[in-house]
Structures are given as C-alpha cells and as structure tokens.
C-alpha cells in the first residue's frame, strides 16, 4: 500500500515536472524568437482540453498504443526512482517506443506510416547510445543499477565526457528538437505534418503528450546520473542539458534522417565506443 502511494507520488511529481519543463520550453523558445509565449502552465491546460475531447481513431490499435506508450514511460520512471537496473529501464522505455511506432504505422495515413519508420531510425539512435552508456555505467561502477552512479563518489562525467556528448544527441532526438525533429515535431510545420502524432486526436493525443513529458523527465533523470554526487549536480546538469537542447533547436535547421544516421549517430556511436574502450583500457 505504502509502495503504491509512493509510486503515485513519484509519478505525480514527474508529471508536474514534465509539464512545467514543457511550459518552460515553450516560453523560452518563444523568448529566443522574440515572441512572448504562453504561460508556464499552458501545457497542462492543453492536455486537459485534449483529454476532454471526443475519441476518434482511424484504427482501433490507436486506442491501445498511447496507453502502452504511457505505461511504459511511467514504468520506466518508477524503475528509475527505485534505483533499478538501467538495462531494464531502457528495455521498458524502448517498449514504449515500439508501441508508438505500431500506433503510427497502424493508421492508413501515409504521413504517419512514413513517420513511424523514421521514428524507428530515431529509436536506433537513442537506444544504442543509451545502451552503450549502460555498459559504461557497468564498467565504472561494477553494476547496471542506477544506484551505482551515486555510490561512485565522483561525477561520472569525468570518466564519460565523450559519452555525455553522445547523450546530448540522444536527448535532442528524444525531445524532438531541431535538427532531429524528424518523426514528429511540436508544431506541424514539417513535411510529414506531425509525424507519428498525425493521426491522433483528443484523449489519445493527450496521453501521448503526457508520455512525452515522462520520457523527457526520464532522459533528464538519466542525464543526472552523470553528476550524481549531490543534489546540485543532479539538478544543474540536466537543466543545462535541457537548455542547451532548446538553444540548439533555435539555431539550426532540421536535418534529414539520412544525416542523422550517417553523421550524427555515426559520430556519436564512435565517440561513445571510444569512451567505453578508454574506460576499460
């Protein structure tokens, strides 16, 4: 019972944090573009409005996918909060991505189907880099548990600088920001309209939005592992990374997924592999 209450509290906090981060993102992006931007709480109003709308689907699978994506994100976050195994957290998180893609591909819309495949490339980018990071965590701390990072005594960043750079790429991809907002970006001004979200409306879209908040929070939580020596590092490093991604979003055009796979991911994977060998060697 106590565990359930605690889990709900963690999820509530993550939801609040995710929504506020989304609000901060929108506000800050607006200011960087010389616009006023919405209030910080706007994402909450948006989601509440979406949840209250009519349910419509083009394929019944679309009713299932958002639920699965959301529960995978929530489950991964809870596992993180309970200091679980990073590999398992990544597997669970990956399952969320799987359902997102399945939902997108289930619809007959060509936009959403093409975006589903792009999302797969994006997952390839993110997941490989994070799994390499899990390997690095193991090599440094002797354990795949996230608690190992805190027990290390010094910031992981000192030992994994190259991996951190690679992680920033994964974070950009995950936050759906330029130059990698390929499979669905926050506004629909993209050749694939809203990518994997194109065919979602109302409550289903609302759930996906919440899932996205939780995923961003999870990534920032993983980011905090890089400086897990104290609360300040655990707050400031992810926040800096978050802000850096938003600035990057505003100073670059969108690139193509071929570039992302060829140059972006290629370089990031090599960097992280070099970091891994360096740790061992």
């Amino acid at each position: 019972m106590q565990t359930t209450a605690l889990a709900l509290a963690v999820l509530g906090a993550a939801l609040l944090l995710g929504g506020l981060l989304s609000g901060l993102d929108r506000r800050l992006t607006a200011r960087l573009q010389s616009r006023q931007g919405p209030p910080f709480t706007q994402p909450f109003f948006d989601v509440i409005k979406l949840l209250a709308k009519e349910r419509m689907v083009t394929n019944p699978w679309q009713a299932f996918s958002p639920l699965a994506t959301l529960s995978a994100a929530a489950c991964a976050l809870l596992l993180f909060a309970w200091q679980g195994d990073l590999l398992v957290i990544l597997f669970v998180h990956m399952a969320g991505g799987v359902f997102l893609v399945l939902g997108a591909m289930a619809s007959p819309s060509p936009y959403s189907q093409i975006a589903g495949q792009r999302e797969l490339w994006q997952m390839l980018c993110c997941e490989t880099l994070l799994f390499v990071m899990a390997g690095a965590l193991y090599l440094t701390t002797g354990s795949f548990r996230v608690s190992g990072a805190a027990a290390l005594g010094e910031p992981l960043l000192y030992r994994l600088p190259l991996l951190f750079a690679a992680f920033l790429l994964a974070l950009t991809v995950k936050m759906r920001k330029s130059p990698f907002d390929l499979a669905g970006c926050h506004h629909a001004h993209q050749e694939l309209v809203r990518g994997v979200f194109t065919e979602y409306v109302g409550p289903h879209l609302g759930l996906l939005e919440i899932a996205h908040w939780l995923e961003v929070v999870l990534y920032l939580a993983i980011c905090s592992l890089f400086w897990a020596t104290g609360p300040w590092g655990m707050i400031l490093l992810p926040l800096t990374a978050f802000l850096a991604v938003i600035v990057l979003d505003n100073v670059s055009a969108r690139l193509t997924w071929r570039w992302m796979l060829g140059w972006g991911w290629g370089a990031a994977f090599v960097l992280s592999a070099v970091n891994l060998f360096w740790l061992k060697g």
Binding site: S34, R35, S178, H189, V193, A253, L255
Partner: protein
C-alpha cells in the same frame, strides 16, 4: 508495386498556399511528382465582364496577396498604354518606391517561409520580425499593410511628403541592419547549406527550356529582369540584375537575399531623385477598342497582362500570366531524385504563389 504515393497538399501545413502534388516515393526518395491546380480558382479574370475597368484595379490587386501592388501597376500601365496616357513623373517614381517595398516584404516573407520549410523556426520568426517594419511603412504611406491600393490609371492615389520619405529611409536602414544580421546564418550556416546546396538544381538551359522566370531564372545564370524594360521610373535608376550560376535552392536563396539590398538601393535612389509635381493626371472617358500586353517584374518574376478593350466600360478580355505559373513546370524536373524531406525546400524555392497561379 507502385511504391509510396503521397498527396502533398492542397492543405499541407508546410505549404503557404494550396498547391497539390502527387508524389511517388521510394525509400523516401521522390520518383515522380505531378502538380495539380485549381483548388483555389476564383475566376477573377472573368470579373472583367461585370466590373468596369476602374473597379478592376481593386480586383487584380486581389489576384495575389503578396505582390498586389505590382499586379495593379501592370494593369494600370497596360490601360495607360491603351488610352495613351502618360503618368506624371512623380507618380512613376512613387510607383517604383512602392514596388520595391513590395519586393522587400515579399522576399523577406519568402526567406522566412523558406527557413520554416527546413525547420529553422527562429530564423523564420526573426525575418518576419524584420519584415514588420516594411509592413509599417506600407501602412503609414498607403493606408494598408499588404494590399496597398495606391495605383490608379494615370498615376497614384497617395503622395509622400518629405517627413515620410525621411522616415522611410531611417526605417529602411533598420531593415537593412536587421536582415544583414541574418546574412551569415542564411548564407553560411552549416545546417542551412546542408538543406539547400545542390537541392533541386536547374541548369541554365533547363531553366530556359522550362520557361522559368524571375529569381528562378537568375539563379540559373540568366540575367533576365523585366525592370530592365524601364517601365515606371526604372529606366532612370541604376541597377543590374542579381545573377547566380548554380541554379540550386541555395543559389535562389542568394539571389533573393541579394535583391533585398538591391531593392533598398532602388528606393533610396528613387527618393533621392523624386521629382515634384502631381501624383496623377485626370483621366476621362473609356479605353478605346484595342489590345495591349503589359509586363512587369514581380518579386517572383515576370508578370504579364493581356488586355483587350472594346471601347465600352467593361473590358472584352483580361488574361493574366503569373510568374509562379511559369515556374511550376520546373518542379517536375527538380523534385524527382530528392529526398522527401527536401520537397518543401525545393517547392518553396520557386516561391510558389498559388492564388496568383489559379486567380
């Protein structure tokens, strides 16, 4: 199997206007593209049957929301030629000023949309922020922001006093500062170059063969500009067309960006040389029977008006050939072979004005 077939438009968020493309794609590479028209056809040319030749000025202004001033200008110049009217010198210079203001705001708008097509949102916002000053000038001098409605047969409806011209010059200096601050991003940014260089390239001969006009043609190395005809006061001003050789999206971007500076230079020259006098000559009577072809350089290229009058209040025939219509055939050559992600970029590179095209 026929591969992927995608309806690109008419209501696609990337497109500023409803063009429809039937895209056939394989592995996200375009195999073929078939444009389709008619989604926003309004039959404006046919309105000549029920609106008299003066009212038609306001109608042709609405052919296009972005280059409205030059539509009206071309129409008025055509009728002036037919009726044998010579507009006053001051009117001719004022027409240049407003034309170039229009070109400025159109090019800034296009640069913004172009940036948006490649997902560069902040550049888009920044350019439109700069554009706001031009819109302010339009509103302060002509009364409206976009559809200026300044042209009449025989001259212009509004005048500029010395205070206004001074203010325009100072505002233009700000505008120049504004877009110059973007020049390195637009011309040298890595991500922008990745998305534009080598995309949708047209050789000189291809551009000529496909009948491209305006910046499209100039970007492929052809020095063609209707302003060289010397209509309005262009014959008395110094300028040379901006020409680039590569013929790709990047070259088109360079041409239009350079034309921003050129337009500001032309306005400065026109204000400096602005003669005194009336803004219009009184016009009596109706256009005599006969036909005339008028041409002018719009931001998107050559605009052509064919006017046939029968001596009555209503024109016999009005036919408009807009620059986008001339540039669209190039799409069928430029699109195959590029990535789906580059379709909006290449599409925007012709600066499509679909309302113009479909009238």
């Amino acid at each position: 199997m026929a591969g992927t077939i995608l309806p690109f438009g008419p209501q696609h968020p990337v497109l500023p206007e409803p063009l429809h493309l039937n895209l056939q794609i394989e592995d996200e590479i375009v195999v073929s593209a078939t444009p389709a028209f008619g989604y926003v056809h309004r039959g404006l040319e046919k309105l000549a049957d029920i609106r008299d030749f003066r009212q038609m000025i306001q109608v042709v202004e609405r052919v296009c929301g972005i280059c409205s001033m030059i539509h009206a200008l071309t129409y008025c110049q055509g009728l002036e030629e037919l009726m044998g009217i010579e507009p006053t010198p001051r009117a001719r210079f004022l027409r240049v000023i407003w034309s170039e203001l229009h070109r400025l705001h159109s090019h800034l708008l296009w640069l913004g949309l172009f940036a948006d097509a490649m997902g560069f949102e902040s550049l888009f916002m920044q350019l439109w922020k700069v554009r706001e000053r031009i819109m302010d000038i339009n509103e302060a001098t002509a009364g409206n922001r976009v559809i200026l409605s300044v042209n009449v047969i025989g001259g212009v409806r509004r005048d500029l006093d010395s205070g206004q011209t001074a203010w325009i010059l100072s505002e233009l200096a700000e505008v120049e500062k504004g877009f110059s601050a973007m020049s390195r991003t637009i011309l040298h940014d890595y991500t922008v170059q990745k998305r534009t260089r080598g995309k949708g390239a047209l050789s000189r001969s291809q551009a000529m063969e496909l009948g491209c006009v305006g910046p499209m043609l100039r970007a492929s190395g052809v020095s063609q500009d209707m302003r060289l005809l010397g209509y309005a006061a262009y014959g008395e001003l110094e300028f040379a067309p901006v020409v680039e050789q590569d013929g790709d999206c990047y070259a088109r971007c360079r041409v239009r960006f350079a034309e921003l500076g050129q337009s500001i230079g032309l306005i400065r020259q026109a204000i400096a040389k602005l003669p005194a006098g009336d803004t219009s000559v009184p016009v009596k009577g109706r256009p005599p029977a006969g036909e005339v072809v008028a041409r002018a350089e719009q931001p998107r290229g050559e605009c052509l008006y064919y006017i046939k009058a029968n001596g009555g209040k209503f024109l016999d025939r009005l036919r408009i050939r807009t620059p986008t219509f001339a540039n669209i055939p190039a799409l069928t050559v430029m699109l195959p072979g590029i990535e789906l992600a580059d379709v909006p970029v290449v599409l925007l590179s012709i600066d499509p004005c679909i309302s113009c095209t479909e009238r």
